[in-house]
């Protein structure tokens, strides 16, 4: 039977929804599920993890030097307990992408990136070529499965669990070669892109940082998160953490509204899992209309102004 360890993602205050999604992937694999929470002052985060559906135990590794998620420090803690497990799962977020391959290399296995679906406990589906092909990947028998879980492909596990929490100290000393300096958050108080039910997004067509205000205003009216195309981020209209696409965030809201986004393949990769895609663009030939569920050819500012009135 599989013995699965999930590496929890958190911001020092609360557990990320990505961890609940990893739990759902673990359910599909089947077997015992433990979660390791690494950090400093992580009591309430560990309790949140223990409440996830059918989690048997939470290992809380609490030490001052683990407060920032430096891959070198966190990897040392995971590899110290990895031998007990058949599977090590982390989210395919910037945290998991940074951490999991380092763990895999030290253990001596290749990593399965971005699990979309589970065929068997050792066979998975994952996207390649920006999602233009979905492949089956089998891990060699008798080796530890180290994988990242494609968050947009999984629903969050329910909060019906009652796992035990075991608090431990760190196994390894702090690495001296890497030092955390700080984190600047780009986003404000709006819903997190990766868990928002609605997302309003703007592209190059929005034209400027100033013009993006209308996107924010509409998003606030809808209670939506705000995303952007790479073009809008590169042009400096919005910060990097709003980028949706192959190299940005892969998201799966119920409603995605794209304003002034032409729809490069790399952007479409990030929104294919959305429930309903709405595209507003003045160019009727834009590729975004090929995958939009509802398309509207027109000036985005006129459309937003009308939407504001209709939604008032």
């Amino acid at each position: 039977m599989s013995n699965i360890l999930i590496i929890a993602e958190h911001d020092g205050e609360s557990l990320s929804v990505s961890t609940a999604k990893c739990v759902s992937c673990a359910h599909a694999i089947g077997g015992n599920i433990d979660i390791v929470v690494i950090g400093s002052g992580i009591e309430s985060i560990s309790a949140e993890a223990a409440a996830l559906e059918s989690v048997s135990s939470v290992i809380a590794i609490d030490a001052e030097h683990l407060s920032a998620p430096l891959a070198a420090n966190w990897a040392n803690e995971v590899t110290a307990i990895a031998a007990d497990y058949s599977h090590l799962l982390g989210p395919s977020s910037t945290l998991g992408k940074d951490l999991m391959p380092r763990i895999a290399a030290v253990i001596g296995v290749n990593q399965v990136s971005d699990i979309m679906a589970v065929n068997t406990p050792t066979s998975f589906k994952r996207p390649i070529y920006a999602g233009n092909a979905i492949i089956d990947v089998d891990t060699p028998s008798g080796t530890t499965v180290v994988a990242t879980v494609r968050i947009a492909s999984w629903k969050a596990a329910a909060l019906t669990g009652s796992g035990a929490v075991e608090v431990r100290g760190a196994s390894a000393k702090a690495v001296e070669h890497t030092r955390f300096v700080g984190l600047t958050s780009g986003g404000g108080e709006r819903p997190d892109l990766q868990s928002a039910q609605r997302v309003v997004s703007g592209g190059r067509g929005v034209g400027s940082e100033e013009n993006f205000k209308v996107i924010y205003a509409l998003a606030d009216k809808l209670g939506a998160g705000v995303g952007a195309s790479r073009a809008a981020v590169d042009a400096g209209y919005v910060p990097n953490d709003m980028q949706v696409g192959q190299t940005g965030k892969i998201i799966s809201p119920d409603l995605y509204m794209a304003f002034g986004i032409s729809g490069a393949i790399q952007h479409l990769t990030g929104i294919k899992d959305a429930g309903t895609i709405v595209a507003i663009n003045k160019d009727s030939e834009s590729p975004i209309f090929e995958i939009a569920d509802i398309g509207l050819v027109g000036d985005l500012f006129t459309v937003i102004a009308e939407l504001e009135k209709l939604l008032a």
């Binding site: 070198a72 391959p101 492949i135 300096v181 700080g182 958050s185 509802i294 939407l307």
Partner: protein, 248 residues
């Protein structure tokens, strides 16, 4: 200081990749191949460091068959001083690539190893982190700002929550993100000059690296298609449609 830059030969980013009808792979027949775009950014950064007088030599390395010499030559034309091809007939998975790169590191002793944050073909996003783990050195992934301060570097990383800044002692492995720089264009005289720059070939065997623990890559399927959508005429129709679907 030497800087080692990884270069991967991939299907050009403008190509719309199609799955073969028998599911055995994707159609790469006659398709344009290029340097992985993130690797171009990695090389550009290395060249700028050298041009600023903070490195003496930039070495580009690639693992693959002789066809990857084409991409190494592109790297030389961009301005790298020399190239190393790790010759193998098999498409290497990240762990083997990292093991092979580590052998080159042991020979060359670079102060910095700069790679793209992911390759746009397999989208694995692993090699740099694996290399740092095997080498037991610092890693900084998704780097968008790099500042060298002698024996260490201050880097800004693009992370889901915003911008993270960390300091790493050298030698270190960096993987670069899109906004670090805009790579230069290669000029014709540079292409001519690149032909005379050294390109060493070393086999995986000579490096003492065995390919082990490969994941088995099976059936390839095209992605599920979304159903054809509808077009609406104006905002009022859009709102009606969204209400109809229970989305607002």
């Amino acid at each position: 200081m030497k800087i080692l830059v990884g270069i991967k030969r991939v299907v050009d980013y403008n190509v719309r990749v199609r799955v073969l009808s028998d599911g055995s792979g994707v159609d790469t027949d006659g398709v344009k191949m290029s340097v992985n775009p993130f690797d171009e950014i990695a090389l550009e950064e290395a060249l700028r460091i050298r041009e600023a007088g903070n490195a003496e030599e930039v070495i580009v390395i690639s693992a693959g068959g002789d066809e990857c010499q084409q991409q190494l030559r592109t790297g030389l034309a961009m301005g790298a001083d020399r190239a190393i091809q790790i010759q193998t007939s098999e498409a290497l998975q990240p762990l083997s690539t990292a093991r092979a790169f580590l052998k080159i590191i042991e020979r060359e002793e670079p102060g910095l190893v700069i790679l793209g944050k992911q390759a746009i073909d397999d989208d694995n996003c692993q090699t740099g982190q694996m290399l740092a783990g095997l080498w037991n050195r610092p890693q900084a992934t998704s780097v968008s700002v790099l500042e060298l301060n002698g024996d260490s570097a201050t880097v800004t990383r693009e992370v889901d929550a915003g911008l993270e800044t960390i300091e790493v002692d050298l030698p270190a492995v960096l993987t670069v993100d899109l906004r670090l720089n805009v790579p230069r264009f290669v000029k014709l005289p540079d292409i001519m000059k690149a032909k005379r720059k050294p390109l060493d070939v070393v086999s995986l065997d000579e490096l003492g690296v065995a390919i082990e623990g490969n994941l088995e890559i099976g059936h390839h399927a095209p992605p599920p298609q979304r159903e054809k959508g509808i077009m609406v005429e104006d905002a009022a129709q859009l709102v009606a449609e969204l209400k109809n679907r229970g989305l607002i």
